[in-house]
Symmetry: C3
Subunit: 363 residues, 3 copies
């Protein structure tokens, strides 16, 4: 199958219908074409039955091929292939999160799978003391894959102690949120497909800014860890944080970061230099949450580079002003809009239903 | 397609199976035959992609054709046509309401659509400050249509600010509940199909009584506003309320009511004259709820006209005594039983799947 | 159809995939073969449209044939037959129970039915006073079968006052939990298929121990009541309880028990004699719950007969130590793993879709 064949599966009217109405519009066909071949079957087939608990559970080639498959999911009506027919996905949200839960559930339903939903932890019966390991053992009989969010970092490990099914971590305390990082890079690769290349023209390498604290913001941490895979595309990373050690215990070796790193608590001087700004609202401090400080707010009057784009995993608070929504700095709506397609790609691969999709090589 | 053809789609055993066991039984075939033609495709096709936020979003011909289509939904097993295959409906109930939520969800599932459910507002994550506009933007990627109930009146507008999908208002504070009014008139038109005629025999015109306060009871308000479409069928309206101005700010021009209107706070004198009595339990007063006063209770010993029927959107409290359940005054069970069929008709039209139904003219 | 034909439907790789990873592994083929014929169509067809509110709603032959059908559900991929296509099952959990709710919902989804879910009683709207009878009347229009759990014993009767649909009681206060007892006996009959025989070799009859109080533990009560059907297989029953009258008002005539009964509050002397030990965590005392006393804990060092098996409806607390999980005393994981298959069998029979299954006699 050639690049030309792949392009047969890009339906422009499907893309147009699905494009977010405000901010940057991302066309998935650039990423599809970039590869000059369909998503690689051998790489994607290797995901069968696997769990995604942390960033290390996926390699750079897997991330790129998943993003290319997600692009094809976005450019097509895949529902007609019923890829997840007969499969049951359990979405266990012991910490409520409408946005992430509905994103996964929408991905399952769009592929004609079934959803068993635990929308919040308060519906877990009178025997409050049940262990996550026992819950994992229970899930073995009820479904084919488990997506879990939990307020405690250790929860992912405890559940998988009893679980034989593939597991996707949808956020564990101050741990990780690895599929959010996939969603983030899916947006960046659609925005500039050349960022996926092994060598990137120095002119096109990005200065990445992170407003927040990777050490206690799991989405920020996962984005940063995933970014290591794309070091050839990153000229410099600037972390803007109130904390003296924003990397925290979870990232104790910034040497791992294969690009220039700068840490600052002043946003103003560095803001006009950034190509991509990643921010988040909420940091976990012990058992409670803290919002981003007032000095780190962005709005339409912020001194941004004209071509700069802003990313945010959402939901947002005041740190990201709605005055940016109509501007071309707004990549966050396109980023959010890609989430279900990325998750469709991941679920199809893990649940071994790639063979139902007409656009995977060797499937 | 002729009236005879339409009648081919009326399956008496389906109707019998679906009829409520107590109170008035309503046969949908009367309304189907009344039109002497199948539901009008051109009128119903015009609903494609539309939102139903308030009563003005539907015209009288649209209401009548929707009720006729709903009658055919009720008289047939439509599941075999899988009308909503591949469609995802988001039911976002920020104010919990099992009855209305399950009614919409049952309608979707009966048509083989998928449901993404937000059963109550407490499962909306830690970022409690997320705006409804951002939630609307999120829903754009997750489904094909949104049904929302919310405790605040302004919520419908706020959500649709960010939403590109068709929207159905399932109750917004003291605002409206437009599909409840459709359900109400669906019951009345099955009960007396001639009420749909442009001119109604004066003998058959009804004296309508409303027990409650349209100004702060959204179901009552929506019923009243919808009733304006059926002015030729209404001889007189009597509003029975403790409030001096039961119409309130939302209905500040009773002149719009194209029939004789009487307002009273005494139920006893007028009760024996009423043909149809519409009542509700609960009024919104500021942020709290108030139950209907004790003097407005109905029971089997109430001095009702023998042919009078009682309607109630349910759930009920003491104002509607169970001693009425076994009587022929009980239209409320038949009214409730029609809700899913009416919503099936509406969803099929908005989501443009009328062509999958064998009984829509020109579809 | 002969036993050989039935065995065609046993797919060893399906069984292997579904077997719990720790504890006793149960092979469903023994129970299938035992009957020397496929599950009896006439017996199972007799369940069409029936309700299962208490143990008396099922006879011994029905229980055995349901367990044999469940074995075939377990030994096959039945999803390809779409047995519940177009059917809507309402799961109304007014008392939250993730385990039981998901078990029923998984059973429905595996058979391609639809689920309308009420995950907990707090989402039932502002009209808190709505009667269960009215809720039953509402459900008539929304689905094809209702599964309900409720914290009050009278709730099952109140709901069915208004309900015309088949009803399955998933636990009512200190009343019963009849499908849990089916799940329990399904495990026992897979463990030793000869227990289903009308006469059992005296050597193979079991000494059954119950740790807990049938009078205020509904799962224990239901298991005990169901065990009466299998009296020929039971040599002796020992009830180990702190209570002087563990049978309580719900079981006021232990004479009904057609086997030797012993009551004791000391576990140590009797433990080494028991073949099967059934235990539960939680007893209902008035409106509150009480955990099992510390003296009744089991762990890997307990003086159990080497061949003894432990059953528990789960969730567990400290009374059942995880040190037993890896031992051959652990029947409770296999017991739990069978729950969805048993419920699949029951739902297929009640909803009259046995004809879609290739392995029911005369279907």
């Amino acid at each position: 199958m050639t690049a030309l064949d792949v392009m047969r599966f890009v339906e422009p009217e499907v893309i147009a219908r699905r494009t977010n109405s405000r901010g940057v519009k991302l066309d998935p066909s650039g990423l599809i074409e970039r590869g000059r071949r369909p998503p690689a079957g051998p790489v994607l087939h290797g995901l069968a039955g696997r769990s995604i608990a942390e960033h290390g559970d996926l390699s750079r080639p897997e991330v790129i091929e998943l993003c290319r498959l997600a692009s094809l999911m976005e450019a097509n009506d895949v529902a007609i292939h019923h890829p997840l027919d007969g499969k049951v996905v359990i979405t266990a949200f012991f910490e409520a999160s409408t946005r992430t839960r509905l994103s996964f559930e929408s991905a399952v339903l769009r592929l004609d799978g079934k959803v068993l939903s635990v929308p919040d932890g308060r519906t877990t019966g009178t025997a409050k003391g049940e262990s996550l390991s026992d819950i994992g053992e229970m899930f073995n009989s009820y479904g084919d894959l488990v997506v879990m969010r939990h307020p405690e970092t250790e929860a992912a490990q405890e559940l998988t102690d009893g679980l034989d099914l593939p597991f996707i971590n949808a956020g564990n305390g101050s741990g990780e949120h690895p599929t959010q990082a996939l969603v983030d890079w899916f947006a960046l690769l659609k925005w500039r497909p050349e960022l996926a290349d092994p060598t990137v023209d120095p002119e096109r390498r990005i200065h990445l800014g992170i407003i927040g604290t990777p050490g206690n913001m799991r989405a920020v941490k996962s984005f940063l860890l995933r970014s290591i895979d794309f070091a050839p595309a990153i000229r410099k990373l600037t972390v803007i944080s109130e904390m003296a050690d924003p990397f925290g215990a979870g990232l104790n070796d910034p040497e791992r970061l294969d690009f220039e790193v700068e840490i600052t608590n002043e946003m103003a001087p560095v803001l006009p230099e950034l190509d991509v700004i990643y921010m988040n609202s909420i940091a976990l401090l012990g058992d409670s949450y803290q919002l981003l400080g007032e000095q780190y707010r962005l709005h339409a009057q912020s001194t941004l580079k004209p071509s700069a784009v802003i990313m945010h995993p959402l939901a947002r608070r005041d740190e990201l002003d709605t005055s940016l929504d109509e501007t071309q700095h707004n990549l966050y709506f396109a980023q959010a809009a890609g989430a279900t397609y990325l998750r469709q790609a991941l679920l199809s691969a893990i649940l071994q239903r790639l063979d139902r999709l007409p656009f995977v090589e060797g499937a």
